[in-house]
């Protein structure tokens, strides 16, 4: 039983000028699942995410959202269906957490529909979900890196899109908050959203993702359930590292223990 595909990359190539960064990728992102994209630095993960969220125009191929070509959708409609949290974004000075999270509602608002019950519910819910409700009136520049990161996640959650793409959302977070963010994303996926997340930590990816996509040099080299995909071979191929892949005694998920650089 395979879940229906919501977002699909169809022979997708993405380039900066003449440099091709993502090369003819075909990818089906299953609905209601948490997909983790892993790979070494510079393998094209972030670019793939930008392409999937229509911010990077395809050099070739297309991104399909529910079977429609994403690039042909009206911009605001696309923003109601796909949310993106880019890597380390800056906010203007003086903005509070609540101000930031309210911006997530912008695609749903109009000139004369600037604040509805639905907006309020989404913002309050997102603040609670990302555990920043108590920080709502704090200015962003007075927060720690991790708190700020969670405020941005709250904004993406408030956007209330069926598809949510996040680029290293756990990068600045301590262990506890990393877990909270992954639990939050799992909750979103369980509620039917398609969540795609770029992560560096393979073990977290194995623990929380339903679906793992491993990228190397602009191409997908492995794809599938983490416990089937993650092997010592894959780790060596991706990162040039010898490792032991153990089984978590509680969950049975793969745990990657690096041993040293590959010979």
């Amino acid at each position: 039983m395979t879940p229906p595909t919501v977002l699909r990359a169809d022979d997708l190539s993405l380039a900066y000028g003449r440099t091709t960064v993502v090369d003819s990728i075909g990818l089906d992102l299953p609905a209601g699942q948490l997909t983790a994209v892993v790979g070494p630095n510079g393998c094209g993960k972030s670019t793939l995410l930008a392409g999937l969220s229509r911010l990077h125009k395809p050099a070739r191929g297309a991104v399909l959202l529910d079977g429609q070509v994403l690039a042909r959708l009206p911009v605001r409609e696309a923003a109601r269906r796909i949310g993106l949290l880019p890597q380390s974004a800056d906010a203007p000075d003086g903005m509070t957490v609540a101000d930031l999270v309210r911006f997530g509602r912008q695609p749903h608002q109009g000139l004369l529909r600037q604040w509805s019950e639905q907006d309020q519910r989404a913002v309050d819910g997102a603040l609670a979900a990302a555990d920043v409700a108590t920080l709502a009136d704090r200015r962003l520049e007075t927060l720690s890196g991790g708190q700020r990161q969670r405020a941005w996640i709250a904004m993406a959650v408030a956007q209330d899109t069926p598809v949510l793409l996040l680029d290293e959302p756990t990068a600045a977070l301590d262990l506890g908050h990393q877990l909270e963010v992954f639990e939050l994303l799992r909750g979103l996926a369980a509620a039917g959203r398609t969540v795609v997340v770029v992560v560096h930590d393979l073990t977290s990816a194995c623990r929380y993702a339903d679906h793992l996509v491993a990228m190397l040099a602009g191409q997908v080299v492995a794809e599938g359930a983490p416990r089937e995909v993650v092997t010592t071979d894959l780790v060596r191929r991706l990162y040039g590292v010898e490792s032991s892949v153990l089984r978590d005694p509680v969950t049975g998920c793969p745990v990657v223990v690096p041993c040293g650089p590959a010979a």
């Binding site: 911010l55 993106l84 000075d93 695609p107 997102a126 609670a128 639990e183 799992r186 509620a191």
Partner: protein
């Protein structure tokens, strides 16, 4: 989020029943620091501080207007000047107020508002507080073209029209050389600085090469003055503002999201290039029409948005506040310029620069330490 299986999504239909039930029983409230105006399905959300700030600036503008009408070579108390405004009272008062001070007042109001809006939009779209029509060469372009037309063939309209053409040329040059509106703010500002320097040199070259009479006639275009402006450019500016103010308010709302990086703004459904081009177009029209009336008024477009941000707070882009602050600034500076060394008149452009710069430095030194936007 303690238990791994806790329903964390408030917006999901199945998982968030408690949150929704709670929300359904509470009516819609304005978020902290905002005013919510609701009428049926329609709702408008205003930052409280910006609304109060605009009212405050409007009150100051009223005072400045009354002062501008009352003060001058013949001082009239408001008891005499205000009735004279509608044609009641001593015929001399009526003449002074209606024929001499009112046109100048109107010109000052409009020029100040236009420069304030232009500055606010430019600063926001370049994400840089130094980006104003003056610093990116629009003032210089307008001046160079106006001076060229005065030095060449002098008619009453030509310099104003040429100023507008010059403003548009400078903006197009800066934009074209910076590689379009989609590029980052810094590049546009630096290219604009270069364009402005070249056009400023052209102005000086023209003034040096021109016969002394022509150079004298062209001089006001290089400092900025509201003395005896022809009616047509003022009318054009009024018409332009009638279109540009609503446009600026609309664009300003979208620009709010453009204070984020482009990726975030685009992810929120903002058509980044379109909004940026629209904001730039409105800014160029405002600045061009304003310079066509009064010449380059130093610093107004830099100071007005800074003051407006101070008064209206960091929520939103202070388009209206900048317009009001600009109008106050130009009116006050012109009133000072008319009276401080009477009967000799100090051009308003010099006053805004001389009084404006210390004010700007004071503003910057007094704001809490923070990063440049």
């Amino acid at each position: 989020m303690s238990a791994p299986t806790a329903p964390v999504s408030p917006v999901a239909p199945t998982a968030a029943a408690p949150v929704q039930a709670l929300a359904a029983s509470t009516p819609v409230q304005a978020p902290a620091g905002t005013l919510l105006l609701r009428l049926g399905r329609w709702s408008v959300l205003l930052p409280t501080r910006a609304a109060v700030g605009c009212l405050l600036l409007a009150a100051v503008l009223l005072v400045a207007t009354a002062a501008a009408l009352a003060v001058g070579t013949t001082s009239l108390s408001p008891v005499r000047s205000l009735p004279a405004l509608v044609g009641v009272g001593d015929p001399t008062d009526v003449l002074v107020v209606q024929r001499l001070r009112l046109p100048r007042l109107v010109a000052g109001l409009l020029v100040g508002a236009a420069l304030g809006i232009a500055g606010c939009l430019m600063q926001t779209l370049a994400r840089n507080r130094l980006a104003t029509p003056g610093t990116v060469g629009i003032d210089d372009g307008a001046t160079a073209f106006a001076v060229a037309s005065v030095v060449g063939v002098s008619t009453s309209l030509a310099p104003s029209a040429m100023a507008l053409v010059g403003a548009a040329t400078a903006a197009a040059l800066a934009l074209g050389l910076a590689g379009g509106a989609g590029t980052s703010g810094y590049r546009f500002v630096v290219v604009g600085l270069g364009v402005g320097a070249v056009l400023g040199a052209v102005t000086n070259l023209l003034l040096v090469r021109a016969p002394i009479d022509a150079a004298n006639a062209a001089f006001p275009w290089s400092v900025g003055t509201l003395n005896a402006r022809p009616t047509l450019p003022v009318t054009l500016l009024a018409l332009g503002l009638a279109v540009c103010v609503p446009a600026a308010l609309l664009v300003g709302r979208r620009l709010g999201a453009l204070r984020f990086p482009d990726t975030v703004a685009a992810g929120l459904g903002v058509r980044v290039r379109l909004v940026r081009l629209a904001a730039l177009a409105v800014a160029v029209v405002c600045a061009g029409l304003a310079v066509a009336v009064g010449g380059p008024l130093g610093m107004v477009a830099l100071i007005a948005p800074e003051a407006a941000r101070r008064v209206c707070g960091p929520r939103g882009v202070p388009v209206l506040g900048s317009a009001l602050a600009g109008a106050v600034l130009v009116l006050a500076a012109d009133t000072v310029g008319r009276t401080v060394a009477a009967p000799v008149e100090v051009p308003v452009g010099l006053v805004t620069a001389v009084l404006g710069c210390p004010y700007l430095i004071w503003l910057l030194l007094n704001s809490r330490p923070r990063r440049l936007p």
